[in-house]
Structures are given as structure tokens and as C-alpha cells.
């Protein structure tokens, strides 16, 4: 099933819904597409909805850290929401929660960023 992404831009924030599995293979193209869009729409914040992300490993975490390094130069933020158990364990283990904002629902994420 690989990885499908649904993207929506709203007030300088990019909302990304991830469906499938995030690994070295599936992040390759996704990364390029993200960087292109962030540039095109002058994106400050990224919101990842992980409800339907069934798998992530350290390659996926690497992509998130890379985007964090990008948005922090603009004082932007990475918000991650709707983590299921499998994904949550890797996110916690990797320490990602220290540099990203974790929210239960996408609604919470929107409120947090003031784009509700």
C-alpha cells in the first residue's frame, strides 16, 4: 500500500494527512514534494495527521526532524496529531515530542495554531 498523502494549505500552514507506511522508500518522493510546497506557499507550520499511518520507522522520523529544522528558521512549528499506538511508541522513543507539538485531534492542532 505504500504511502498516500492528502495535502491542504490554510493560512501559511500545511495540513498533511498520512495514509499507509512511512519508511526509507516511501519518504523519498514525499520529502521532495513537501519541500517544494513549503517553498511555493511560504509555509510556516506543518500539521501531520497520523490517524491512518500504520507504520513509521527512523527514516520517517528523519523526515520529520528535517522539516523541523526547516520551519524553525521561520519560527514555525511542527504539530503531530491523532497518533495510533504503533506510531506513538516510535515518536516517543525518538524524542520527537521534544521538538514537535503533539495533539490528540486535528481540531486541537488547528486551535493551537489559530487556523480553526
Amino acid at each position: 500500500m505504500a504511502l498516500n498523502v492528502h495535502l491542504v494549505v490554510k493560512k501559511g500552514s500545511l495540513f498533511i494527512k498520512l495514509v499507509g507506511e512511512m519508511d526509507q522508500h516511501t519518504t523519498e518522493n514525499f520529502k521532495l514534494r513537501l519541500i517544494e510546497l513549503m517553498d511555493k506557499y511560504s509555509i510556516k507550520n506543518l500539521i501531520f495527521n497520523m490517524k491512518d499511518l500504520s507504520f513509521i520507522d527512523s527514516s520517517g522520523i528523519g523526515l520529520l526532524i528535517g522539516r523541523y529544522n526547516q520551519v524553525k528558521t521561520k519560527d514555525g512549528e511542527i504539530v503531530i496529531c491523532e497518533l495510533n499506538n504503533n506510531v506513538e511508541r516510535v515518536v516517543m522513543l525518538s524524542g520527537l515530542y521534544k521538538i514537535c507539538v503533539i495533539k490528540d485531534t486535528e481540531r486541537d492542532a488547528k486551535w493551537y495554531l489559530g487556523v480553526a
Binding site: E21, H25, K31, F55, D57, S58, G62, G95
Partner: protein
């Protein structure tokens, strides 16, 4: 005892294949979803390392994954004949990576160790790397 062994081309599109193959092999065991996901993650990390580090993304190489189980434990092995690791202790350190500019997180070993009951790394520079993971059941 039940066992299987897979050899496959070192291409990134085979990472999802080998995860699925190992999971299908273990389905008879009726493991908890969390444990199955841990094993799936260990396979993914080790195989990704063989592809991107061991074989430096040259797809003409072959990776070997072995998996077996008995009543007590699951044994998983990922073997490559790649460049090998110079300093295993350093490699295992969280955030250590030799491919920083490719956005690697350096967290592969950290995750593999957290998700295994035992993790053994054997590596010889110029000869290759073997990762053994033991998981009690």
C-alpha cells in the same frame, strides 16, 4: 521449530516487502499487535541500514533475512556483505549517523535495541554486518 530465510535485492522498494514477509511468517503465532509491530520495525531499521549504509544504495547487492521461532522466542537475523561498521559502540549511540546530509536520524539502533530483548551486532569492515534480534514470547 519453524524457520524461513529470504534473499532479496538491496532496493528500497523491498523494505515494505520484507516487513510484510516477516509479519506473515509470524502470523501463526497469534502475537499481540504491539509485539508484531516491534519486530516489523526492527526488520525495517536493519534492512534499511544494509541498503543505505552497507551497500551504499547500490541495488545489485543482496540482503539476507532469517527468521525462526520455537515456543520461547523469535530469532531474527539481517545479514549484508557490505562495507561494515568501523566502531559499533559509536554507531549505536542515539543520533549518531554517518549520513547526516541525507536526513538520517541516527535513531535506527536506538529503536532496534528498545524493541528487542537481545540485540547483537557483528560487523567486520569490508566484509559486512549481521544484526541478530531475539524476542521472547
Amino acid at each position: 521449530m519453524n524457520k524461513m530465510e529470504v534473499f532479496f535485492s538491496s532496493r528500497t522498494e523491498n523494505i515494505i516487502f520484507i516487513r510484510a514477509a516477516v509479519v506473515s511468517f509470524l502470523l501463526n503465532l497469534d502475537l499481540e499487535v504491539a509485539i508484531l509491530n516491534e519486530i516489523k520495525t526492527v526488520v525495517s531499521e536493519a534492512v534499511t541500514n544494509s541498503i543505505v549504509h552497507g551497500y551504499e544504495s547500490d541495488p545489485l547487492n543482496v540482503i539476507n533475512v532469517k527468521c525462526s521461532y520455537d515456543k520461547e522466542e523469535i530469532m531474527l537475523e539481517v545479514i549484508d556483505q557490505g562495507i561494515g561498521i568501523n566502531d559499533v559502540k559509536q554507531a549505536k549511540r542515539p543520533m549518531f549517523t554517518t549520513k547526516k546530509n541525507e536526513e538520517r536520524s541516527g535513531l535506527g539502533f536506538t529503536i532496534m535495541e528498545a524493541f528487542s530483548d537481545e540485540l547483537l551486532v557483528e560487523s567486520i569492515v569490508g566484509e559486512g554486518t549481521t544484526i541478530k534480534c531475539i524476542k521472547k514470547i
